[in-house]
């Protein structure tokens, strides 16, 4: 290493830091291993499996959106095709008694996703930006509609199913019980997350970022942006295929919903809400959205509306997603000025919550009158019972909503001032840029 490199290049990670880094992965592995000991019920194991699948799917999506700047409205195509192929594969493997155990099968899904991404990606990735987004939507509609025509392969509306327990047994596991599926998903999740993290730290990974920032300039440093986008697309399709395969194994069925617009929309929601700017963002998003969709549907009839509103709120007020919001505070934490923010946050929280409560109250009341007009007006939403016919409730909703809004607007400008204050101090200490 030359002298200049020593003085100018960023220092290579010291042994302690490397240790911390690998320790993090090890810790993640241990947590995954121990999780079923703490939450062992069938329901929570299923939830964990769904989260794992969603994490792989969202991270694969972020290879496109966050890393390479490609907004896809059709990512479920590769997820779904991976799932279908795996169901067929399980049926073929078990019918012919081929010596391939279930844990290897997700790889078939991955290779399917890769193959279709390689096939469809060359055309789609010729253009970036809005055109790419529209093309991804068109290709997705093409595949989803074709799936309904090719009934023998895709099984029409009902889909096709398989029995995952009939494959070669490994260490006496037949993968019937959910706990075994949980461990299968957990292992694949860990492998896929590590692989996708590693991908960001390769020459290709860095050129993906460059293409995201400025595809024009990339051409003048020797790279063909189309090839970079295409390779990113292929990797993304591969990991989406693995996620789809795990989903198919988990449910033992694949149907046209796997490929559909709703699935593509959900992964976009999860990734964006989690935050596309950081590697960990989609993981956070996957966990959050899975819990949200499981939890909200118990709490309210119109949970999808709340889901959409949360998404719009994130786009409007927190374009960095949950992770972006948290990471914003890192310089303040380092500079020790985070405490200056807390009082203003505490003050702003109250009217904001009031406003949200008012909004929910009004919404649920309106829903009562439009969806179930004839029913009893004593309804229950978010665990709270109230009388939707009572004028007091209407007045309360209006006061909370409007009053909350007026006060919240004021308090958030205070938050803004406190923020400027705290960052300028951090900047003086040379921490914030």
């Amino acid at each position: 290493m030359s002298e200049i490199t020593v003085s100018a290049a960023p220092p290579l990670p010291a042994a302690a830091e490397k240790f911390k880094f690998y320790g993090l992965w090890l810790a993640a592995a241990i947590v995954l291993l121990l999780l079923p000991r703490i939450f062992g019920s069938g329901g929570s194991l299923t939830t964990f499996s769904l989260i794992g699948i969603s994490i792989i799917f969202s991270l694969s999506y972020n290879i496109l959106l966050g890393q390479t700047g490609m907004l896809s409205f059709g990512h479920a195509v590769y997820y779904g095709l991976g799932g279908f192929l795996v169901i067929h594969a399980i049926n073929i493997l078990s019918a012919n008694k081929l010596p391939i155990p279930l844990p290897v099968v997700p790889l078939i899904g991955g290779l399917t996703g890769l193959a279709f991404a390689a096939l469809l990606g060359w055309v789609s990735t010729q253009r970036s930006g809005t055109a790419f987004a529209m093309i991804s939507l068109g290709v997705a509609e093409l595949i989803a509609s074709s799936a309904l025509i090719l009934r023998t392969f895709f099984g029409g509306e009902a889909g096709i199913s398989a029995n995952r327990t009939k494959l070669l047994k490994l260490f006496g596991w037949n993968f019937g019980p959910q706990i075994q599926i949980y461990y299968l998903v957990a292992a694949w999740t860990l492998i896929a997350v590590i692989a996708m993290y590693a991908l960001t730290r390769t020459p290709l990974g860095r050129m993906c970022n460059a293409v995201r920032d400025n595809p024009e300039r990339v051409q003048f440093v020797g790279y063909n942006p189309h090839v970079v986008r295409y390779l990113a697309f292929c990797f993304s399709g591969f990991f989406a295929g693995i996620a789809g395969a795990l989903a198919a194994i988990n449910f033992e069925i694949a149907n046209s919903a796997y490929l559909g617009a709703v699935q593509s929309g959900t992964v976009l929601f999860a990734t964006y809400i989690g935050g596309i700017g950081f590697f960990i963002g989609p993981i956070v998003g996957a966990i959050f959205v899975t819990f949200l969709s499981l939890g909200l549907s118990d709490l309210t009839q119109v949970w999808q509306l709340y889901f959409g509103l949360i998404f719009i709120a994130v786009v409007l007020f927190a374009p960095g997603g949950i992770t972006g919001l948290l990471m914003m505070h890192r310089p303040l934490l380092k500079a020790g000025t985070l405490s200056r923010m807390l009082p203003s946050y505490a003050i702003a929280l109250l009217p904001t919550l009031a406003m949200i409560a008012g909004g929910i109250l009004s919404l649920e009341t309106i829903v009562h009158y439009t969806v179930n007009p004839g029913d009893d007006s004593h309804i229950k939403a978010f665990g709270v019972s109230f009388d939707a016919a009572s004028p007091y409730i209407w007045a309360m909703a209006a006061i909370l909503l409007i009053g909350g809004y007026l006060v919240a607007r004021k308090t958030w400008t205070w938050v803004g001032h406190a923020w400027d204050d705290a960052t300028s101090v951090a900047r003086e200490k040379g921490i914030a840029p």
């Binding site: 003085s7 100018a8 960023p10 020459p203 050129m207 970022n209 920032d213 400025n214 003048f220 970079v228």
Partner: protein, 249 residues
Amino acid sequence: MTAAIELRRLEKSFGEVSIIRNISLSVAQGERHALIGPNGAGKSTTFNLISGYMAPTSGNVLLRGEVISGLPPYQINRRGLSRSFQVTNVFANMSVWENLRCAVLWSTGQRYAFWKNIDNLPDVRDRTAQILTDINLTARRDVPAGLLTYAEQRALEIGITVAGGADVILLDEPTAGMSRAETERAVALIRRLTEGRTLLIVEHDMSVVFGLADRISVLVYGQIIASGTPEEIRGNPKVREAYLGEEAA
């Protein structure tokens, strides 16, 4: 000896409007050649034609005797021709270090490698560190390019352009918008970084042009009206009338 860059009867028109009208020009290897002319003369278009950003309507561009016109920009770049932009054109969300490293990758043979750890490439690391030191941005290494000052961004722009080790460098108004002192530093930087390479530069600042260039060509309304050493250009009545006269007035 074959010329580093040769333009043969180059023409470019957009619809009815012709921007470049039959330019022929030859830049010898190792020469520092300046392209001057009034606004709208077609200097940037000429750069766009040479670097592959646009295809000529007719005529050819030759790099070391080989025709490159019609090739996409990345292939021209791989053949050893690199250009900068008049409007700063960097990777705004990436750090200075990452910007330069991206510019180094292809020339160190990394291609689209997805199996190598980028931090474990000593060659890439050394080259990037060298360029970073050359453009004096060591202290700003980890700052996102979008947050640099204007002069720093211009330096980074030049750094990205030369980082790949191209031996033909095209700089489009590298000192535009800079103060006197910044311009002087930039000229010294350009002189140092293009040592032993061929340089074609578009510049409005006459002190930069006459201080830096071995030869000068004057472009007016899409045509080269004169080409020669700085002394010849200074003494050329046609140039004085068409261009330098305006400057003096």
